[in-house]
Amino acid sequence: MSERNGNHDQGDLTAGQDPSSYSAWDEIQGYLFGLALAVGLTAASFAMVHTNLIWGPGIAVALAVLAVAQIGVHLVFFLHLTTAPDNTNNVLALAFGVVIVAMIIGGSLWIMNHLDDRMMPNMMPMDQIMQMQR
């Protein structure tokens, strides 16, 4: 991790600073590693749909886990979100964003599913309801 931080600092070079210690190959290796991980996780996601390895209703959960893992890979290897000191603000902002996203998506699903249940009790066919009302 300290190597990554070192590269990140090199990225902060501005005009007048010495780029002689700069190593492009290290950075390319980082991107290659991230790409390999991302491709593997993507392939696993697409294979998951057609597999019988996992109990049917569990596939959605497995897909969500793979997606979260891949998003993590992207954040670390492509966006260079690290624990470096000048990255603290970025990480905190991301944490706040995740909270908001979880509230919007989780809250919407929660509320709308409850509404759905209340609007259509037992999914009774309409003609039966009409007969009951006579």
């Binding site: 491709v39 966006l79 000191p85």
Partner: protein
């Protein structure tokens, strides 16, 4: 307080200015910046001066991108709620073409990779490689857009456009919004290539390149959520 005291105090802080114990490893690394270049010091805490403009610009753009992600999360929430509201129309399983989605995913993932390479090339001040990797990024992005447009055109021609059902409305909203972002990204990419070519690797151009990189990578992150929620989980229904 004498001048020497102030200097000594400064050295004390330099040992661990908000690195919270992680400074040791940097100290051991020693090589880069330790020799008095100064860019190894923690920035943005009043120690070693204010954060570099690059860090601040990156932070500001990251905040914008997070707000964009919140926007997408609203569209995702709408789609998740409406996923079964097909109104007797076709469901995801009947509509989506897995081969096309896999190709689109490959295009976007590879373009994210080449975009990262362009950042490496720009850091090395290599004009040819920067232009080349940016061009490849643009071509992959264009391929993605054309594939998506082809899918959309096919669905609309078959009468399964956004007006068919609530499910399809939300589908076109969320995928279309991502497509619009990619289109805007391609225009930005074109202007960045021109700026790098004509203005060179000036500090402000480098900051713009950084922002473009962040934008493009975040588009890929949104696509990961998109192909998982909309296509793969949707296909299972």
């Amino acid at each position: 307080m004498s001048a020497t005291d102030a200097v000594a105090g400064g050295r004390d802080w330099d040992a661990d200015p908000y690195k919270l114990g992680r400074g040791d490893r940097d100290g051991r690394g020693g090589g880069h910046g330790g020799g008095g270049h100064g860019h190894d010091h923690a920035t943005g805490h009043g120690q070693g001066g204010p954060a570099s403009k690059r860090v601040i610009v990156g932070y500001g753009f990251w905040l914008f991108l997070l707000s964009d992600i919140v926007l997408f999360s609203c569209l995702f929430a709408a789609h998740a709620v409406l996923q079964t509201a097909t109104a007797g129309g076709p469901s995801g399983r009947q509509l989506f073409n897995p081969t096309s989605i896999a190709l689109e995913t490959a295009c976007l993932l590879l373009s994210s990779f080449t975009c990262g390479l362009s950042q490496v090339a720009a850091d090395a001040r290599n004009q040819i490689m920067t232009q080349l990797t940016l061009a490849v990024t643009g071509l992959l992005g264009l391929t993605f857009l054309l594939l998506e447009a082809h899918d959309f055109a096919g669905m609309i021609a078959a009468g399964d456009g956004p007006q068919r059902s609530a499910f399809l409305s939300s589908f076109f909203a969320v995928v279309g919004c991502h497509g619009a972002h990619v289109t805007a990204g391609l225009l930005w990419l074109g202007t960045m290539m021109a700026q790098v070519f004509f203005k060179g690797f000036r500090p402000n151009i480098m900051r713009r390149l950084l922002c473009f990189n962040l934008f493009w990578h975040v588009l890929d992150i949104i696509w990961v959520a998109l192909f998982t929620i909309v296509y793969l989980i949707g296909e299972g229904r």
